[in-house]
């Protein structure tokens, strides 16, 4: 924990949901392993992208990091402090430093609160709990400046969420997340509910804010183009585990894990000529159920390069070089590539 550069450090995080059966006497009929041993760290000022297909546990990871979902096992360190050991009062103080931008701008805003009140709500809660001292007058001023900064006219403060477009609502969500002056923003698919034209506006806003306010991002998305644009480093998730992490450039130029390769080959290209010549890797089958008891590599059923070893042993994330980690036996040779 000695490294002061590391803002968020996640160690072997697991989130398992019980499957309950029966009406009166609930029996546990197994577990859904939504997140199954995820480790990563986020350095100050960087933006780490977490990508993967639907249901691979990206959002659950973010919720567990934010302590909104109870972790089954594993630890989340924020600025070197284990969040699971904090008292509820300490956790409340710590929450000021990591805020969430939610996926769905329609359900993340209370329809009965005005835009200004929504953005000011965190400040009012913390002022009410005497954790920060700020006068109502200053709250109003701060709200207006946040709205202005996020591209909303402060005159909209009296409007209700339903009077805004999806992009504007997401701006309200961003302004709310910024109101407490956080260091880390957990962006849970912040643009996937928006139109493509609006996506770029929101992404640019987030990018500007990152530079201006020195923010760190954990950016969750399933759109690889968005992540490539936004993130400096990318972690690829599959079935609750991270299979590859690398710089975004490295990952796009030299994907190593067979799953990452398949994922990248599925990104639509704007140029039809190069799209035609590109070799697409089409995976067979579906993602296995996260409730199945299994051994071996999570990707073994669908992997084009599957080996005998993959069926019995699970590969762990290991260094290819200091900027590139992959969990695959294909690269498990004694002479590591540098």
């Amino acid at each position: 924990m000695g490294n002061p550069d590391i803002l968020l450090d996640v160690k072997d995080l697991k989130v398992h949901f019980p499957i309950e059966k029966g009406i009166l006497l609930k029996k546990n009929a197994g577990w859904i392993r939504a997140v199954d041993g995820v480790s990563f760290s986020v350095r100050k000022g960087e933006s780490l992208g977490l990508v993967g297909e639907s249901g691979c546990g990206k959002s659950t990871t973010a919720m567990a990091v934010a302590q909104l979902e109870a972790a089954t096992a594993g630890k989340v360190f924020f600025e070197g402090r284990d969040l699971s050991l904090l008292s509820s009062e300490e956790l409340r103080r710590a929450r000021m430093n990591f805020q969430i931008v939610f996926q769905d701008p329609y359900s993340s805003l209370n329809p009965r609160m005005r835009a200004g009140d929504l953005i000011a709500e965190p400040l009012r809660i913390y002022a009410g709990k005497k954790i920060i001292s700020i006068s109502e007058n200053d709250i109003q001023k701060k709200t207006a400046s946040l709205m202005d900064r996020c591209g909303l006219s402060p005159s909209f403060a009296d409007r209700y969420p339903h009077e805004f477009s999806g992009g504007q609502r997401q701006r309200i969500g961003i302004a709310r997340a910024l109101s407490l002056g956080p260091k880390l923003i957990l962006a849970d698919e912040p643009v996937s509910a928006l139109d493509v034209s609006i996506q770029s506006q929101i992404l640019n806003l987030l990018k500007d804010l990152q530079q201006e306010l020195d923010l760190t991002f954990l950016f969750i998305a399933h759109d690889l183009a968005v992540v490539e644009y936004f993130c400096s480093r990318i972690a690829v998730m599959y079935l609750g585990q991270i299979v590859e992490t690398a710089d975004s450039q490295t990952l796009y130029q030299q994907p190593m894990h067979p799953y990452t390769r398949a994922l990248l080959s599925a990104v639509p290209l704007p140029d039809p000529k190069s799209a035609r010549t590109r070799k697409r890797i089409i995976l067979k089958g579906d993602v296995p159920s996260p409730s199945a008891v299994r051994s071996g590599c999570p990707f073994m059923e669908r992997c084009p390069d599957v080996m005998e070893r993959c069926r019995v042993e699970a590969p762990v994330l290991s260094d290819l070089n200091e900027k590139h980690q992959v969990a695959c036996f294909l690269y498990d040779s004694p002479s590591k590539q540098i």
Partner: protein, 278 residues
Amino acid sequence: MEKPRILKNGIAVTGLVIILFYIIMIIVSVFWLPFDSSAMDVKHVLESPSFKTGHLFGTDEFGRDVLSRIMKGSSVSLIISISATAFGALIGILMGIWAGFLGGRWDNFIMRIADIMFSFPSLLLAIFIMAVLGENTYNVIIAVGIVYIPQFARISRGAIISLKSNEFVRAARSNGAGDSYILFRHLLPNSMPPIIVQISLSLSVAILLESSLSFLGLGIQPPEPSWGNMLSGARKVMMIAPWTAIYPGLAIVTLVLGFNLLGDGLRDVLDPRLRNVR
């Protein structure tokens, strides 16, 4: 914004006017009635409505003035309907939000009790409670209130559960909000529209339920007038003196209509999404 929004809503205003009319009637009835509501007059039995005699709504089989009895009975009906609804709503909503918010075992336990109460037809349950408690005005309130508890519990639980999964609840939690803040600032206000509609329906159904109980002889006891026992008395003479049944019936219908209109209007007024529509 000087004019309260509810006054811009025609439906709600119509309902309010009707209810206000009855409230004024109650106030007047305390100080003045055209005739003594329980004074019998054997010379003027079953007289048809006329200006000449002063019996505007006629007289019943004992010669009592129907208008005076309706006025006297309105306070009974309105008080019972409001207090029974308040009683049922308070307990039911508390049960419902408790069950919905905590979930799990509490939810199961509370809602099974509500299911048991639901399995009785409401009139039968009210009759049962009246038979156990005995016949007086307070017991009518309790009986009707108990009938309402499971309805309010179920509606508020459903509303809380569907709201709980919204991301704004998570957002509030990540913004440092505690359980009670989330419950009272985020969940309850958003669950109000169905509850308010239920309250307005309950107010009107309470009038009907009280009338039914009184009609069956289990509610307000004669000679104390209530709209229900007036109808009950009119049953025997309805064919020769229809005014004895028509006017109390009309009173019930209009007050029920008033509450329903108010409820409809309130739902629109309280929902910001419908505010600028229409």
